[in-house]
Each structure stands twice: as structure tokens, then as C-alpha cells.
């Protein structure tokens, strides 16, 4: 998907503010990249945090932690 407006709508699950849609195309594309990066980093950070939690959690509560985090 290359149209920056469509990417913004998809990433935000909403209609971007009119002022944003009035920005130059390269600025809208850069904004879409920033949001997509933030989503990727968030997912990666969560994955790493889950792994680190399972590694650091004290043995007596490891079972419950695994059950809650991993289902």
C-alpha cells in the first residue's frame, strides 16, 4: 500500500485530522512510517518483555506467570 493517506487510515483506524491530510505527500508518508515503526517496536518490546519476565520471575511463581502471560 503506497498511498500515504490510506496507510494513515489503516494505521490509525480513523480518519486523520484535516490538517494532517493537508500536509505535503512526503510528510504524510514520513508520519505513516513513524507510526508503523512505533507499532513494530511496541510489538517487539512486548515480546522481549514477556521473555525477560519468564527468565527473571522467581521460581515459586513461575507457573502462574507462564499461565497468565502465555495462556
Amino acid at each position: 500500500m503506497s498511498d500515504p493517506d490510506d496507510r494513515l487510515r489503516e494505521l490509525l483506524h480513523a480518519e486523520p485530522p484535516a490538517g494532517v491530510l493537508a500536509l505535503p505527500e512526503d510528510a504524510r508518508a514520513e508520519l505513516a512510517d513513524l507510526i508503523a515503526d512505533a507499532r513494530r517496536r511496541q510489538a517487539k518490546t512486548l515480546e522481549e518483555a514477556f521473555a525477560a519476565t519468564l527468565k527473571h520471575v522467581p521460581f515459586p511463581v513461575r507457573g502462574i506467570v507462564k499461565k497468565v502471560l502465555l495462556g
Partner: protein
């Protein structure tokens, strides 16, 4: 709130350097605020299930273990999103066990208006300590945003931590200007003297004008009384600022009674 202030909040929410948002510098503050809200909602919903599991975990294990784990492995940006899902009592317990530095990092990335029940549950003394840490980091916009969410007791605990210069800088970016008089009631004589001196020493004229324009009645009278007693060097700096067009004459007139 100015565009610069809103962009700073957005940078914190995206966890990116402020400079990476230069492409948005031409937008007005309301547009950036709306965009920030949309991004915040989208990032929260994108991983809601995972945030819910972390929140559930904090309930399933002892508070001390949960706090230790949080600080050891949970980056503040994730903790800020999970915080919205915590029960207030659990959040207050956790915050009480975390370092001021970590809570300040979380506060930077949290939109106080999304979790008022959490902010409300945190003991005033802890909020005061975190406010002091945020002021040390010169995070005026973040503090200005939290002022609208904190209780009267937490506001008092926070204001007690600020110097006159810090109060001027925070007042300039306050989201909720209706609390200016409440803040004015809390200021000590020493803080009033400090803020007049800081305005003169650091040319914080726009900040002072903002404060004076929102103070009413007794609060303004107290500040005017301190201005009347201010050292000649401070008063002459005010005169020079008016002459140079940096301080609105109306502000000085309000202080002169």
C-alpha cells in the same frame, strides 16, 4: 498548549526524538492533539490483548514481586499503556513500590487524561516526589498536563516541590488554566519572590504575563505586594522589559496595583 508542547507529548508517546517530528511543525496545536489521541488509541488497541495479560499478571502475583519484575523487565512505554488497565488500588500499590525515576519515565509516556482513576489513586506524597523528578528533567509540558488530572492534595504536594522559576515554566504550558488560582493559593512568600526574580534574571516575561493574566483577587494581591517589596534591581529589570516591549505594560500595571 502550543504546537511545540503537543509535539513534545507526541514524541514521548511514540518514543522517538522530538526532531523526528519536524514534518509536523506547521500543524496547529489542536490538530497535533487530535493526531496524538488517534495514535495513542491505535497503539493501545494494536496490542491490547498483551497489555491485558500484563495487567492480569500484576494481580496474580504478590505486589512486591510484580513491582520488582515491572522495574526490571517492563520498559516505561509498555508500563504506561498497561497502567490504563490496572485497578486503581493495585496501581497505587505498584507505584508506591517503584522508584521515582521509573515512575517519572512512565509518566512521560502516559496520557493522564486516559487514566484519571489511576492518577487519583496515587498518594499525594508520591505524586509530589515524581513531580520533583519531572521538574529536574525540565519536563514542563508533561507536568502541565498532569496538573489537570491530580487531586487538590496531590497538587499541593507538587507545588511545594517547585521553585519560582519552575512554576513560571509550568504555568506557561498548563492544560487546565482554571487551576491557576488554586496554585496561587498554595504559593509561599519565598516562591512568589523567586518567580519575580526568575522572570527578571531569565527574561521569562511571557511566562510571567501568562501567570498574572490568570491570577485573581487575593492571589494577585499577594504577588503585587511582593513586587512592591522586590529589590531595585528586579524592579528596574521589569521597567526595562516593558520599555523593550518584552513585558506587556498591562502585566506590570497589574503588579503595581
Amino acid at each position: 498548549m502550543t504546537t511545540a508542547g503537543e509535539l513534545r507529548k507526541l514524541a514521548h508517546g511514540l518514543d522517538v526524538p522530538l526532531a523526528s517530528l519536524d514534518v509536523l511543525a506547521g500543524l496547529d496545536a489542536a490538530t497535533v492533539r487530535e493526531l496524538r489521541r488517534q495514535i495513542s488509541d491505535a497503539l493501545f488497541e494494536a496490542d491490547r490483548a498483551a497489555f491485558e495479560r500484563v495487567a492480569a499478571l500484576s494481580k496474580a502475583i504478590p505486589g512486591a514481586v510484580a513491582a520488582k519484575l515491572t522495574q526490571a523487565v517492563l520498559p516505561p512505554i509498555i508500563a504506561a499503556r498497561v497502567a490504563e488497565l490496572l485497578e486503581p488500588a493495585r496501581a497505587a500499590d505498584m507505584v508506591g513500590r517503584l522508584s521515582e525515576s521509573y515512575v517519572a519515565e512512565v509518566s512521560l509516556r502516559m496520557d493522564a487524561t486516559r487514566a484519571p482513576h489511576i492518577v487519583d489513586a496515587i498518594p499525594p506524597a508520591k505524586i509530589g516526589a515524581v513531580a520533583r523528578e519531572l521538574a529536574r528533567r525540565e519536563e514542563w509540558v508533561v507536568i502541565g498536563g498532569f496538573v489537570s488530572a491530580v487531586s487538590a492534595a496531590a497538587l499541593a504536594a507538587s507545588v511545594a516541590e517547585f521553585s519560582g522559576e519552575q512554576l513560571l515554566r509550568i504555568g506557561f504550558v498548563l492544560d487546565d488554566v482554571s487551576r491557576f488560582d488554586e496554585i496561587g493559593d498554595l504559593l509561599t512568600t519565598s516562591q512568589l519572590d523567586e518567580l519575580l526574580t526568575a522572570a527578571a534574571a531569565s527574561s521569562l516575561w511571557a511566562e510571567l504575563a501568562e501567570l498574572v493574566s490568570h491570577l485573581t483577587g487575593e492571589r494577585l494581591d499577594r504577588l503585587a505586594a511582593r513586587y512592591a517589596d522586590a529589590p531595585p534591581s528586579v524592579r528596574s529589570a521589569f521597567d526595562a522589559a516593558v520599555e523593550a516591549g518584552e513585558l506587556p505594560p498591562a502585566t506590570q500595571a497589574a503588579l503595581a496595583g
